[in-house]
């Protein structure tokens, strides 16, 4: 069993080794890692290719070098390169694995060996992940070395990217495998998988918008509420002092009615209306958000899976530091007393969105995604095991 499995993996490596695209991707990965060395952070700001650029909101006073490089690694290295560009290249490289096996005249020889179809299928699936495993592994190790030498910050924890990106890619590769077995066409499996990925992207985008808007509404309600309490206390004090100044006797501890408060501060009704509007809007968004959440439960969570890296690599202090990037003292959420409108700061927006996503459990993110993948693979494996070739 070990001999056969090793042979299949060695064969997969030789296949990759013969593909120019694999080495082009590897070279681009290393260029991407080398570019990390071009970026630096110091007390004044950033340095790019040795040139110091003073940036008040982004310097080593605001965030540490370690957090800076973690951010660069996660946002550029993982967020853009590995999960988008390298993934497309990986899909192109691995799209032909099953169609070629099924149609290229190899399947008869493979099935004539003493290996069960199900084991052959699942081993071939795992060998398909080799492309990404090697790419991400090399990328992470090179990143640790380059960042370590450049900044002195050694971050072995970013190796967690290897299993996470691998799991993310396995969702797509499972779909591609099923399509490959159904259609026996490399082009069809590649295009339909990219279409599926695009649909996931659309769902994720809709989810992000809904989560952001809903959380922003809830924050607005909280901020207006806080402002309202404060304004009503001020109005009450003002009303009582005015009444006493006009010679009206009021008992100690008198609490003015809402109408009386509104005479002291004419903007209170506006604040109350704004609060009610935001509450109503938040209430309207809630079922949509919940519905999309349920819909996403049965789909692979590509976005959330990659976002897990942030959870594992960044501590709370790191996150706080990252949120301070580019922020100044004026950059905070505020309620306009006259209009009741709330200006939610970008840092608060980032914080509440991150918190909302962090509430999504690991079981929901990975468990249901892997369940989706398992179902897809079981269907594909069943078809593979049942089919005549």
């Amino acid at each position: 069993m070990i001999i056969q499995t090793s042979a299949l993996f060695l064969d997969a490596y030789r296949d990759l080794n013969s593909k120019k695209l694999f080495w082009i991707t590897m070279a681009l990965s290393l260029v991407c890692v080398a570019s990390f060395a071009a970026f630096g952070i110091n007390e004044e700001g950033m340095s790019i290719f040795g040139m110091d650029i003073p940036i008040p909101g982004l310097n080593s006073e605001v965030i540490s070098k370690e957090v800076f490089y973690k951010g660069v690694f996660l946002n550029l290295g993982i967020g853009i390169w590995l999960t988008w560009i390298a993934t497309v290249l990986a899909l192109v490289s691995t799209a032909g694995i099953f169609p070629t096996l099924l149609t290229g005249g190899q399947i008869e020889t493979m099935l004539s060996k003493p290996i069960s179809r199900s084991r052959l299928f699942f081993t071939k699936f795992l060998t398909g992940l080799l492309f990404v495993a090697l790419q991400v592994g090399v990328f992470c190790v090179a990143s640790i070395i380059v960042i370590g030498i450049r900044s002195g910050a050694w971050m072995p924890e970013i190796l967690i990217s290897v299993p996470i990106v691998l799991v993310f890619y396995s969702y797509l590769f499972a779909v591609m495998t099923l399509i490959g077995i159904l259609t026996r066409s490399t082009i069809a499996s590649l295009l339909l998988t990219i279409l599926f990925w695009f649909l996931l992207f659309m769902v994720n985008t809709a989810d992000s918008i809904l989560v952001q808007q809903h959380e922003a509404m809830k924050l607005r309600v909280v901020l207006i509420e806080e402002r309202l309490v404060e304004a009503e206390q001020n109005a009450a004090a003002l009303y009582i002092s005015r009444q006493r100044a006009d010679g009206n006797e009021l008992p100690d501890g008198y609490e003015p009615t809402q109408e009386e408060l509104d005479t002291a501060n004419i903007f209170l009704p506006i604040l109350r209306d704004q609060k009610a509007d935001n509450e109503e809007f938040a209430k309207k968004l809630a079922p949509w958000r919940q519905g999309l959440y349920i819909f996403k439960t049965v789909l692979p969570k590509t976005q959330e899976t990659i976002a897990l890296l942030g959870r594992f690599v960044f501590s709370e202090e790191d996150m706080e530091a990252a949120l301070r990037i580019g922020a100044d003292d004026d950059d905070r959420s505020e309620v306009d007393d006259e209009t009741g409108e709330v200006d939610v700061s970008s840092a608060d927006m980032q914080r509440i969105t991150t918190e909302a996503y962090n509430e999504r459990s690991l079981l929901w993110i990975l468990g249901t995604s892997l369940l989706f993948e398992a179902v897809i693979l079981l269907i594909a494996g069943w078809l593979f095991a049942r089919r005549d070739f």
């Binding site: 056969q4 296949d15 013969s18 005249g105 008869e108 003493p114």
Partner: protein, 321 residues
């Protein structure tokens, strides 16, 4: 289950359903016995079901019905395949591998240990005449060379039974002779060889027993002697000037073709009076041969519909359900 049989099949059937619910009967109740240690030839026109039958034996296709054994184990038993070698008809091996790597890869798929498969790969490369090409990628091979490597991979596990589907496909005459020599050698080593081929003359040279498959059924099966029993004859060839004499023998258990008289008898005693008669009429005899039908003759007899006398159409039998 007979121990002397390498393949023992009873009532093997395979029916495909098309999307239009049409049934294609690729195999219709195959009964076949292949003895251990013999070279067995399976022949038949295109679409007769030869490759389907081999694929069923190799677990590539699932039969609709099947009773039988391969090397004493039920058809479909994966473990048995450790002792079976197979060369598919339309194989395509990974072009990025060298010949040696390919043989070793399939050796590993047969669970052969690394040192053993390395040693065996070297031996097989020499056996199939590819010793100097073992380190070159398959993409640089000709079709004949790939066929030789294909045969080598089929032998990596030192199999008791080897199934070769069109082994000489794309191979030049020298290569064909080499492959025949390999088959002879395998037989001498006591292996059972099952060959599918269109090239009847080759099968005739190497096979001890054959089966002719027509439209998914075994039309005939046995040794060449068994299949030609009762069909042997004497052929007397005359000079062209003497050929008019032959008309005198028309209808007397004989066939006449231009200058040749074919006597439907294998008894030398029956031939002597005929020679005397020809000589008496000053006929010049060029040759006298004892002949029997070739495999091609048998094949052609098998593919002719006895009711209409016409050649059966190639392909499997179809029937709407």
């Amino acid at each position: 289950m007979a121990a002397h049989l390498a393949i023992d099949l009873e009532n093997v059937a395979k029916t495909y359903k098309t999307p239009l619910r049409e049934s294609i009967h690729a195999l219709r109740g195959i009964d076949m016995k292949v003895h251990r240690g013999e070279v067995f030839g399976l022949l038949g026109p295109n679409g007769a079901g030869k490759s389907t039958l081999v694929k069923i034996l190799m677990t590539v296709i699932r039969p609709s019905k099947c009773q039988g054994t391969v090397l004493g184990q039920p058809v479909g038993d994966k473990h048995t395949l450790m002792k079976v070698g197979y060369l598919p008809e339309h194989h395509s091996f990974p072009p990025y591998l060298t010949g040696r790597q390919l043989i070793e890869f399939f050796g590993a798929m047969n669970n052969i240990k690394r040192t053993d498969r390395k040693r065996r790969a070297g031996e097989l490369l020499e056996l199939v005449g590819m010793k100097d090409w073992g380190k070159k990628k398959l993409r640089s091979y000709s079709k004949g060379m790939r066929q030789r490597i294909g045969i080598a991979q089929a032998l990596i596990n030192d199999p008791d039974l080897v199934l070769l589907d069109e082994p000489t496909d794309g191979v030049d005459p020298v290569g064909r002779r080499d492959i025949r020599d390999i088959l002879d050698r395998l037989r001498d080593e006591g292996k059972t060889v099952f060959v599918n081929s269109h090239i009847l003359s080759e099968l005739e040279q190497v096979c001890s027993r054959v089966a002719i498959l027509v439209q998914g059924q075994v039309a005939s099966q046995g040794t060449i002697d068994e299949l030609t029993a009762g069909q042997e004859r004497y052929e007397i060839e005359l000079s062209p000037e003497s050929s008019p004499i032959l008309q005198a023998f028309a209808g007397k258990s004989a066939e006449i073709t231009e200058h040749t008289l074919k006597l439907l008898s294998v008894e030398p005693r029956d031939v002597q009076p005929v020679i005397d008669q020809i000589r008496a009429k000053d006929g010049v005899i060029l040759s006298i041969r004892r002949t029997r039908p070739s495999l091609e003759d048998l094949f052609m007899q098998a593919v002719v519909d006895p009711t209409t006398g016409e050649t059966l159409a190639p392909g499997a039998a179809r029937k709407s359900s």
